[in-house]
């Protein structure tokens, strides 16, 4: 599908909201300068049921065999915020604004404590979901687009973003098969209707639309996630290998081990 031509610096007229890979999107964190860290940040995005974690496990194995240091990070897994987010979700006291802000806090914690130190130390950071998950969920809930993009202006633009895309029908079946519908993932907080299935479907449809609209904005590399696991994995490896080879010729980075 997409070839590795995205996010080339200074491609004429090609400025997008995607930011320069490895740099802050906008305001950043003034007390943490991150210029030219050797690590690479690779995000795997997509809705539920696209097999993100399976792909990440396989990628990690493949990269480590080549001698790259790999660190994984996820969404809402920070030590600081996990209990609070769980509590807030279970008690349904969240509204869309606090929802967005809790996730942003969680992300800030992981960014400063996991992602930035790992990039500084030359690791490849594989992120299972990234800020786009937050942007999509907020977008569906009608949170102001400019506001949320400014909010995440302290985020670091990944070197690569892979979007594992599936269609609405496949998505719905996969979610039902795996863990079923839950309150938040069904968008029940949005009061789309009393019928949980209809609400779930409407929510997932809007979510897909949001992701789709971000593909250009942030330079997603879109992969068809309905294909077999190994087919998708091969495609990911091909694109990542090309990217790593290219960046190693440009600047010293997390080079694979070479036996001289």
């Amino acid at each position: 599908m997409t070839s590795g031509s995205m996010n080339l610096p200074d491609a004429d007229g090609g400025t997008d909201g995607g930011g320069k890979p490895g740099h802050y999107y906008s305001y950043g964190i003034p007390y943490l300068s991150i210029g030219n860290y050797p690590g690479k940040l690779i995000a795997i995005e997509g809705t539920d049921g696209v097999g993100r974690s399976t792909q990440i496990t396989l990628l990690r194995e493949w990269l480590e065999v080549q001698g790259y240091g790999v660190i994984e990070t996820g969404w809402t897994r920070s030590e600081l915020m996990s209990p609070t987010i769980d509590l807030a979700k279970s008690s349904n006291t969240l509204n869309k604004l606090t929802f967005v802000l809790l996730y942003a806090t969680d992300f800030a914690d992981r960014l400063e404590k996991e992602i930035i130190p790992a990039l500084k130390a030359g690791f490849i950071v594989l992120s299972d979901r990234y800020i786009f998950t937050a942007l999509a969920r907020a977008g569906v809930r009608g949170v102001d687009r400019t506001w949320i993009r400014n909010l995440y202006g302290f985020g670091i633009a990944p070197h690569l973003v892979f979007y594992l895309r599936i269609d609405e029908k496949t998505l719905i079946r996969r979610v039902l098969q795996s863990r079923g519908m839950d309150y938040w993932e069904s968008g029940m907080d949005m009061k789309l209707g009393d019928d949980i299935y209809e609400s779930f479907r409407a929510y997932q449809r809007q979510l897909l639309k949001e992701y789709g609209s971000m593909a250009d904005e942030f330079g997603f590399r879109v992969l068809d996630a309905r294909r077999k696991v190994d087919v998708i994995q091969d495609e990911l490896r091909r694109q990542i290998a090309a990217f790593l080879a290219e960046s190693e010729t440009l600047s010293p980075g997390p080079a694979a081990l070479r036996v001289e």
Partner: protein, 215 residues
């Protein structure tokens, strides 16, 4: 109500609330960083000294959003006077003193309701320290800015940090048109000035009510 620790704003706010209530105004009070939602995270973070300036800022914004929707907007809709012990300006002053981007934090809080009146109790750092010492207040880690590592001595750190906070407040006075009360004067004098400021806004609402009744 804005001002650094030891500016006496909490005392002033309590007296103002008494006066308003006695005059028959329905009053609702809300305090900075008091929502149940983020209490657990703030507590854990503070206990382990695990908060960075960014997470500190975002947790307070979350707390604010929660209180805005549950404790500020509903009483305003019900026609009450909401007295906020610290408002968004506290974030603008403290977070920026910690190194957070000035524009970012302003945009972060752009969902807030603009207050009808914002009063800043300005006090020199020495007066604030004297008051806190007289009350034998133990300076807390984050309030003293100890997370910044500027000094391992709590009092020294407090002076450095709150000094920067005061500089930011001065900037906010012009930017947002805060009404300044000289918080060095006697409690009674300050309260007199404070009530005068507030009463200017109350007159307007009285007129509104009269018009409503005659309509």
């Amino acid at each position: 109500m804005e001002g650094i620790d030891g500016s006496g704003k909490t005392t002033q706010l309590a007296l103002l609330a008494k006066w308003l209530s006695a005059a028959g105004h329905p009053v609702f009070q809300t305090e900075w960083n008091s929502s149940a939602l983020v209490k657990a995270a703030t507590k854990t973070g503070k206990k382990k000294n695990a908060l960075t300036p960014m997470t500190f800022s975002l947790l307070h914004a979350t707390d604010f959003a929660d209180r805005l929707l549950y404790n500020i907007i509903p009483p305003l809709k019900a026609g009450m006077i909401v007295l906020a012990d610290r408002y968004t300006y506290t974030a603008f002053a403290r977070d920026v003193a910690r190194g957070v981007d000035r524009r970012w934090v302003r945009e972060l809080y752009s969902f807030a309701v603009k207050p009808d009146l914002a009063v800043y109790f300005r006090v020199p750092i020495d007066v604030s320290v004297d008051r806190l010492m007289a009350r034998r207040v133990k300076l807390k880690f984050y309030e003293a800015g100890m997370d910044m590592g500027w000094s391992s001595n709590a009092l020294e750190s407090f002076r450095i940090f709150q000094g920067k906070v005061l500089d930011e407040y001065d900037r906010l006075v012009d930017e947002f048109g805060l009404s300044v009360v000289n918080a060095v004067g006697s409690i009674t004098d300050q309260q007199r000035v404070f009530r005068r400021l507030v009463s200017q806004h109350l007159e307007i609402s009285h007129n509104d009510e009269r018009i409503d009744e005659s309509a």
